[in-house]
């Protein structure tokens, strides 16, 4: 296994590319898990700093760089959860930049609320899975690396969770 040469002509060149590509998704994942914007900012910064300092320890044989980074972010988020031992909600709803007709916007808002309520009914592990898949944008294989389980197991759990969400939304 070779180390990824994240050091190029400038010490942070390779890492900068990784950051540019993954920052929005890492923040989205951490914020989905912690449900607290300020805590999400702290943890996101912490995750990228840890990844920067441990960048030479990455080995391609262990999985993709995204999976490696999200593993670091996940650990930081779980440490924060343990520290706080509470579940806060997002202080601010995400911006809705989609220009829709007022009727569509209202229907969408209702649907969104239903989804958020359904998300709240999931347990921590299910919410973590949903956040990795949809907020983090990871593939099933990458999720398997992060969660240290088989890809088929991830697929099964994901299907079960999203079906449960659908039923909760329709209730």
């Amino acid at each position: 296994m070779e180390a990824v040469p994240l050091t190029g002509t400038a010490p942070t060149e390779g890492f900068t590319e990784l950051y540019e590509r993954t920052f929005p998704r890492v923040y989205a994942y951490v914020a989905s898990l912690l449900r607290d914007r300020s805590a999400a900012e702290d943890v996101t910064a912490q995750a990228f700093e840890r990844a920067y300092r441990k960048r030479r320890s990455y080995r391609s044989g262990r999985g993709s760089m995204d999976a490696w980074l999200f593993g670091i972010a996940r650990n930081a988020a779980l440490d924060e959860l343990r520290r706080r031992k509470r579940r806060a909600v997002l202080e601010v709803d995400p911006e809705d930049t989609d220009a829709r007709a007022p009727e569509d916007h209202a229907e969408l808002a209702v649907r969104r609320e239903a989804v958020r309520a359904a998300l709240a009914s999931l347990d921590g592990q299910e919410r973590d899975l949903i956040a990795l898949k949809f907020a983090g944008g990871l593939s099933n294989g990458e999720i398997a690396r992060v969660l240290r389980m088989s890809e088929s197991n991830v697929g099964t759990r994901l299907h079960r969770t999203i079906t449960k969400l659908r039923e909760a939304c329709n209730d």
Binding site: T12, D79, D123, I130
Partner: protein, 385 residues
């Protein structure tokens, strides 16, 4: 299930929920909604992060950790592990040391003890009821004072004061080669002085090496003084003493002899009263057997008396180290080779000892590190519970 997951991934890639199956389409729409509803960072936070990445996450001077700080925790864990192993090793070593028996048996009855004033040696007691052996090295000691330990009243024959002890002493004396002949003469003189005799002796002082061996018999009641005087003739390199209680053998032989004699007296009376030739002949045959038994027992008792009345003393004369008496050049080279061999063995021994300590410690540390990782991971996962 696989089709549904594939459809979800397609919808995420294309941004459109277009599956023919209504149920699957519903899942696709939900997936898209979950993705679109994901929280977004504020521009201010993004700007701060961009700056931190560009600066390589530089820390303010005061908040920078020293290079050794991350090593504190594993070092502390290793220190604790090492302390635990050390305590266990010391406790085990102390327990095995206290169980060591120097005397080789209980000290009952009259015993011959050696008190080495020069080397600080320990006293040794003979075993009661069995063989007891004590070896001690008295390098550099000029004299060994022999002291008698008073009978304790216990042991093989409780309260018996006429115990029969078979004693032997082995002495190794070292001296310069040119004094060996003189010392050998002195050993003989001391033996004669105390009423003993030299059973065997040999002495050589030639180029092949100097040395001597003496097999002495010395009256047991004068053993202590004789050994003291012999020890004073040169430096005592080693000294060992053994004692064997043969009282039971002696008593048994005496009892059997007494019984055999009583039987003979009885047979003689019966012979006088015999009325027929056949009866007389039978008694005579029996008398012959008893006579043979009596002779054997008397010989056994004589031998026992000899072994207990006279103690065995073996004296070995050796040239002092570095004075082998042989050819100088060859001897020095041989000595050097021998010393080198001893040194290598000692070094190898220390390496083995160090490995014996380091390997278990290393394995313990590795196990501790592994367990620590597992525990840390479980603690993290418990946050989702």
């Amino acid at each position: 299930m696989t089709d549904a997951l594939t459809a979800i991934d397609e919808a995420l890639d294309t941004g459109v929920a277009a599956d023919d199956d209504p149920l699957t389409r519903e899942l696709q729409e939900l997936a898209l909604m979950l993705r679109d509803d994901a929280p977004q960072a504020t521009p201010e936070f993004r700007e701060r992060m961009d700056w931190r990445v560009e600066s390589g996450f530089q820390r303010p001077r005061g908040s920078r950790r020293a290079w050794w700080q991350p090593l504190l925790q594993p070092a502390a864990a290793l220190a604790v592990t090492g302390a635990v192993v050390l305590v266990v090793a010391l406790a085990a070593g102390g327990r095995s040391g206290s169980g060591r028996d120097d005397s080789g048996g209980s000290s009952a009855g009259p015993a011959l003890a050696a008190d080495d004033s020069g080397g600080g040696g320990r006293g040794a007691a003979e075993a009661g009821g069995g063989a007891g052996e004590v070896s001690k090295s008295a390098s550099g000691a000029d004299q060994s004072a022999i002291t008698v330990v008073p009978p304790s009243g216990g042991g093989f024959e409780p309260g018996r004061s006429d115990r029969k002890i078979e004693r032997s002493v082995a002495l190794e004396l070292e001296m310069p080669v040119d004094e060996m002949s003189r010392v050998a003469d002195q050993v003989t003189a001391v033996t004669n002085r105390y009423g003993g005799f030299v059973l065997n002796s040999s002495l050589s002082t030639g180029d092949d090496g100097a040395g001597g061996d003496f097999d002495l018999r010395i009256p047991s009641n004068r053993l202590r003084s004789a050994v003291r005087d012999i020890s004073a003739l040169a430096d005592v390199r080693t000294q060992s003493q053994t004692g064997r209680d043969v009282t039971r053998e002696h008593v048994t032989a005496k009892d059997r002899l007494r019984a055999a004699r009583a039987e003979r007296r009885s047979l003689l009376r019966r012979l006088e009263a015999a009325t027929t030739d056949e009866e007389a002949e039978a008694i005579r045959r029996r008398l012959d057997l008893v006579a043979g038994e009596i002779n054997g027992l008397r010989a056994q008792l004589r031998d026992l008396r000899l072994r207990t009345d006279y103690s065995v003393v073996t004296v070995t004369l050796a040239a002092k180290d570095g004075d082998s008496g042989g050819a100088g050049g060859g001897g020095s080279f041989d000595d050097a080779l021998g010393d080198a061999g001893i040194l290598l063995v000692a070094v190898a021994g220390w390496i083995v000892r160090a490995l014996a300590v380091a390997l278990p410690l290393g394995l313990l540390a590795l196990a501790g590190w592994g367990l620590g990782r597992v525990a840390r991971r479980r603690r993290r996962e418990s946050a989702l519970a």
